[in-house]
């Protein structure tokens, strides 16, 4: 029998029966670890905390693609050129963040553990609706900080295993949850991205075409919004594209995104406005 140095056992609260939610458990056990429970005093406006920017999501028959640019800005300074804003939430969903990067990254981590925790405790995956609702609850927990300027608004997309389709959910800072149809965009460049998505989206997009639509929309966002970064051909930094289908979450390899991005940039030399939609 091996002798082992003994630490403490499992605290009583670990052995209690309770919800299968990780966030609820953490709230009871170590509430200070939840992102929303650290109130800040005074104004945060002068802090120049990095903000992350344009996210797009596009459905196609059989799934959904989510994409994000790579720029984080703090005021007029580019804080990071290769930040990741699109993450796997679990095997069949993705979450992307816009708003205060620090809080957004922490909330993403919490959400990932939340979904995996439920899966292990219950022995089954949450429904896509269930996942979307859990994320709404986490955002609601951040309302106090949002009111002081540390706002996070994620975009959530996933493959609905029961319905066999890709679905997109957007949120407001108060935790309001809205299902979006066909496509959606959030962040400072989203007004420009949405214009592009509206003109380029078709109900019968192939997955490959949906990838191109995402890159085109992000290009247009970067074109007009200084807080969104375009494809960085000199450094080889391209948008992050995630494809979610029946096969699960796939982060599209950089080499493949690079090919799409180079083709899009190439075409803009002759047509700076990008592809034209038919007039009527």
């Amino acid at each position: 029998m091996a002798s082992m140095p003994m630490g403490g056992g499992l605290p009583g609260v670990f052995m209690n029966s309770g919800p299968s939610s990780f966030a609820d458990f953490l709230g009871a056990y170590r509430p200070e670890l939840l992102p929303g429970n650290r109130m800040v005093s005074g104004s945060v406006e002068h802090l120049n905390i990095p903000h992350a920017t344009t996210i797009v999501a596009v459905t196609f028959p059989g799934g959904v693609i989510m994409a994000g640019d790579r720029r984080a800005t703090a005021g007029n300074v580019i804080a990071q050129r290769d930040i990741e804003k699109v993450f796997p939430a679990d095997e069949y969903s993705a979450v992307a963040i816009a708003g205060t990067a620090g809080i957004g990254l922490e909330m993403t981590r919490l959400f990932q553990v939340e979904l995996e925790h439920y899966e292990k405790m219950e022995g089954r995956l949450l429904s896509l609706e269930g996942k979307a609702n859990r994320l709404a609850t986490l955002i609601r927990g951040n309302l106090g900080m949002a009111m002081q300027g540390l706002v996070v608004v994620p975009l959530f997309a996933g493959y609905d295993l029961e319905k066999g389709i890709g679905r997109i959910f957007s949120y407001d800072a108060a935790g309001g949850r809205y299902e979006e149809h066909d496509f959606h965009s959030i962040g400072s460049g989203s007004v420009f991205a949405k214009g592009a998505l509206k003109k380029l989206w078709r109900p019968d997009l192939s997955e490959a075409d949906a990838r191109v639509v995402c890159v085109q929309a992000l290009y247009d966002a970067a074109d007009d919004d200084s807080a969104t970064g375009g494809p960085d051909l000199t450094r080889g930094i391209f948008p992050v594209l995630a494809s979610i289908t029946d096969d699960g979450f796939l982060r599209v390899p950089d080499a493949e995104v690079g090919d799409v991005a180079r083709a899009v940039v190439e075409a803009r030399y002759t047509s700076p406005g990008g592809p034209n939609a038919p007039l009527r």
Partner: protein, 240 residues
């Protein structure tokens, strides 16, 4: 008026009680194979598991009273997820979890009137067979660091004897599964275990991130049917 019972007698009675409870159940075996750690339970239920994922590289197997080991499993998942969230995923270890279980089981055994009627294995798959860790915990909180194989539950002695005869280091998944099923069939003379009556899972070191996978009955059948003298086909990653 309370009776005086000598502490030795009290502990012995509790241990006998726990052992009897565990001996009533069916067996579970855990063994190493070339690509990881294999868990096989004699368990016809599709919903009530004796083998479960705890974390990226860590799994749990148990025998005994369901509500008691299920409570320990849930506590273990909480322990792992809290530590992984507070520090980093790589900071969650089977050794830490085994320590926490040992403390809890030891406290329950000495302080509560009824001990837990459970026996557990906490296993963590490493980068190679020599870094795999298998901890076996008993109802009184004792911990053993095991290598190769473990048998727990009902006729654990007969199962362990069969494992000792059949087990070899570095076997393929298919060979390890055959050894495990043969060993479980030694629980009693008439026991025949088909895929439907088995709960089988692996920690496969060749997968990404979450290494735990349950094997479907069709996959179990396929592995058991694989002929021993056929050239070993490259092992595809286990599917759900």
């Amino acid at each position: 008026m309370p009776f005086y019972v000598a502490p030795e007698q009290q502990m012995k009675d509790r241990a006998d009680y726990a052992r009897k409870g565990i001996a009533r159940g069916r067996s579970v075996v855990v063994l190493q194979y070339d690509d990881g750690i294999l868990f096989v339970a004699d368990n016809p239920s599709r919903a009530l598991h004796k083998i479960s994922e705890i974390y990226d590289r860590i799994a749990f197997a148990a025998v005994g009273k369901y509500n008691e080991f299920e409570q320990l499993r849930l506590a273990g998942v909480r322990y792992a997820d809290v530590n992984g969230y507070m520090y980093d995923r790589s900071d969650v270890t089977a050794r830490g979890l085994a320590n926490a279980y040992a403390q809890s089981l030891g406290a329950i055994f000495t302080e509560q009137t009824k001990p837990y009627e459970v026996e557990l294995v906490v296993a963590e798959v490493g980068d190679d067979a020599s870094s795999d860790q298998i901890y076996r915990l008993t109802f009184d909180g004792s911990v053993a660091d095991e290598h190769g194989f473990v048998a727990m539950g009902g006729a654990a002695d007969a199962v362990a004897t069969a494992l000792k005869e059949g087990y070899r280091d570095g076997e393929s998944l298919s060979e390890a599964l055959k050894v495990a099923v043969h060993a479980l069939q030694q629980q009693d003379a008439e026991r025949v275990l088909e895929a439907e009556k088995l709960e089988v899972a692996v920690l496969d070191r060749n997968r990404d991130r979450r290494l735990f996978r349950r094997l479907a009955p069709s996959r179990i059948d396929e592995l058991l049917a694989r002929s021993a003298d056929a050239p070993a086909a490259p092992e595809a990653p286990a599917e759900d």
